[in-house]
């Protein structure tokens, strides 16, 4: 359960940072209607949707760190044979990185107000995301064809389950991204609301890329080496 505890420590650090700015040591029973407890906010408030996405990502992060914890814990079993990594996964990783870059480019274009650039960026991101998913499925098929089926070995089971859950999150992301794209379909300009939508999509995309890179590190065994190193440092 070490991974999830590290993740929770990160969350705790964020909570402590946030809470330290909330005047939790004030004495509300002595402060009636005085101004000193609320100042004019220095910068515009964070959009609600952004806060919502941040908290949602914390939940997704908890989910995947729990899965990683389970993976590392089950890995010690005697019946564990690591699954070979198809070359295609490297390509898929590159495709996902391109998808992220395209979306980030769309965000930059939206801030500049360049509508055509936004559309191009979104189209690129959507196409590469679909390509990533297709690539993942082909990777599955290759592994199955080589005889690495789901139930044979816990390493296989974890591989299919983790890539599957990650893929489902990408599917959800594609649905939202497509909706954002459709809003711009009629040739309308990028106003504040779609711009926020694109930014949120980009944040989500980057997060899912990081999740994928960490999962990939797990599958290839680098994460394992890293954990071993940590264990040695601790003990």
């Amino acid at each position: 359960m070490s991974v999830v505890l590290v993740f929770l420590a990160g969350i705790a650090a964020i909570v402590i940072w946030w809470i330290s700015g909330q005047r939790l040591t004030s004495k509300p029973w002595m402060e009636v209607g005085t101004l000193d407890d609320i100042q004019e906010p220095a910068k515009p408030p964070i959009p609600t949707a952004k806060v919502g996405l941040g908290i949602f990502l914390a939940v997704v992060g908890a989910l995947f760190s729990l899965l990683a914890s389970a993976y590392l814990s089950r890995m010690g079993g005697a019946d564990w044979w690591a699954i070979p990594i198809p070359r295609l996964l490297w390509v898929n990783t590159a495709v996902l990185i391109v998808s992220c870059a395209a979306l980030q480019w769309a965000v930059v274009q939206a801030r500049r107000g360049a509508d055509d650039g936004v559309r191009l960026g979104l189209d690129m991101a959507l196409a590469t995301a679909v390509l990533f998913l297709a690539g993942q499925i082909v990777a599955w098929l290759q592994l199955v064809a080589e005889g690495y089926v789901l139930a044979d070995n816990p390493a296989n089971s974890f591989f299919y389950m983790l890539t599957g859950l990650h893929g489902l999150h990408i599917v959800g992301g594609i649905a939202v991204l497509a909706r954002t794209r459709v809003r711009l379909l009629a040739g309308g300009t990028v106003s504040a609301r779609p711009r926020l939508g694109i930014e949120l999509c980009a944040t989500y995309w980057h997060f899912m890329l990081v999740v994928w890179l960490l999962l990939f590190a797990l599958f290839t065994g680098w994460a394992n080496d890293f954990v071993d190193l940590c264990r040695q440092l601790v003990s």
């Binding site: 509300p28 029973w29 389970a70 019946d79």
Partner: protein
Amino acid sequence: MVDIPTSVGDVVPPAEVADVELYHPKSWWTKYVFSQDAKIIAVQYAVTAFSIGFVALVLSWLIRLQLGFPGYFSFIDADHYYQFITMHGMIMVIYLLTALFLGGFGNYLIPLMVGARDMVFPYANMLSYWLYLLAVIVLVAGFFAPGGPTGAGWTLYPPQALTSGTPGGRDWGIILMLSSLIIFIIGFTMGGLNYVVTVLQGRARGMTLMRMPLTVWGIFTATVMALLAFPALFVAAVMMLFDRLLGTSFFMPAIVEMGEQLKSEGGSPILFQHLFWFFGHPEVYIVALPAFGIVSDLISTHARKNIFGYRMMVWAIVIIGALSFVVWAHHMYVSGMNPNFGFFFATTTLIIAVPTAIKVYNWVLTLWRGDIHLTLPMLFAIGFIVTFLNGGLTGLFLGNVVVDVPLSDTMFVVAHFHMVMGVAPIMVVFGAIYHWYPKVTGRMLDEVLGRIHFWITFVGAYAIFFPMHYVGLVGVPRRYFELGDTVFIPPSVHTLNMFISVAALIVGAAQLVFLFNLVWSLFSGRQAGGNPWRATTLEWQTPQTPPAHGNWGKDLPIVYRWAYDYSVPGAPEDFIPQNQPPMAGLSRAPA
């Protein structure tokens, strides 16, 4: 300290929160059924939770019939018995208490108490309820599936949960249970995002965090915990479904069943226990923290006195929430894990007693020299304090490894957790309903029926669970279908079991009085008016009762003070609402 700032212009804080655009329902269906109004969703959650809770109540009757009078009821065989205890536990913990406190009270109270018009994501909020309903339906479907619901015990420990000896293990039971949990968690996440973000972003002008009522603090913290803890149950459920349906070996070790080698090998049942309790222990506080918060408000309002040590109460809630993530393995002392872990987890467990004890002291000190009105909410609140203290003390026993090992899986544990997270939170649920029912419906619940309900429930709960501690100390194991002629079990245990069962039947029946009261008062209760308890918090200051869509009139309320200005010296009345601007000439001594 003087209650007046220099000019009125000073006291109005800047507009932190922009007015939200509300979704306006166009038809009866979108207004009352597929509603996006948090208040309607809250009632939907509450009605569904109580309906499924009633099923669990009937199951508890059947359990007690078997334990009190073994052999008399031929329709209860061992399989049924295990199905009853499993469904009773799971329903009560997740589908009743969690859904009611967060989905029910959270939805109703958060927007009203922080001065918002609605939750921030009303559409997701609506989906949350419908997924919850779907989860309940899938759960209930287990009763009608071939083989019946799962009988694995509410902890669903593999491998026994997936083997053929357990009811539902090789049939539909366990599949439906796990699917229902997965749906519930997805639905809860949608709701939970709403509760948290509404508290963060939707507060009215002047509603600083330290002016929020403790109810909101409790529900808020519990929701944050639930959002981080439920993924553990989600992961456990998904992996177990894989084991059951696709033949993987995440949790299933090599097993010979009926002379036949199962396909699984090498899986780790302990891994499941870690995942389950990583969710399971925070779950205790997910249920308890909203109860802590609500009871603080009930006590303060009905004792006409500010809550003692508000800051400590807030800090205690936050600290308990954080600590509850590092105690989970105290449920696993006998699982064969490293004994050094036991030492660590016993220490963290006992540390939680400190903030919890602070809360109990503060409730008692709030009552001290208060103007105590023994109204129904107050009765239930006092019942909660006593019961929670009681269950908490046995928790100190069980938190110690050496004491826990012999008591593990005895009725002592059953008595402990029923006291601390069964009876105690349910006391708060009842108190809260007697308290807020007038706001939800505009009518008071009947006082006499309420007193009958309280005394039978309170005394009856002790009649059930006090003797159960003794039964457990003698060594009677939990989950046993019948005791038979076991040598170490004295005849007094059988007599006590009968006594407990009779008490349980009576307490269960008393809940029908409550149910009748809810329905009868809806039509014939006394008109309540806007603020029958003369309370300070915002939900009692709405222009209409029940609050209309959008909660507030044209303007959102502005908050000038904390939630506990009761019996302020020199004030014209013994309460000052949170949205009451500062009054001239009113001075107060530093508290």
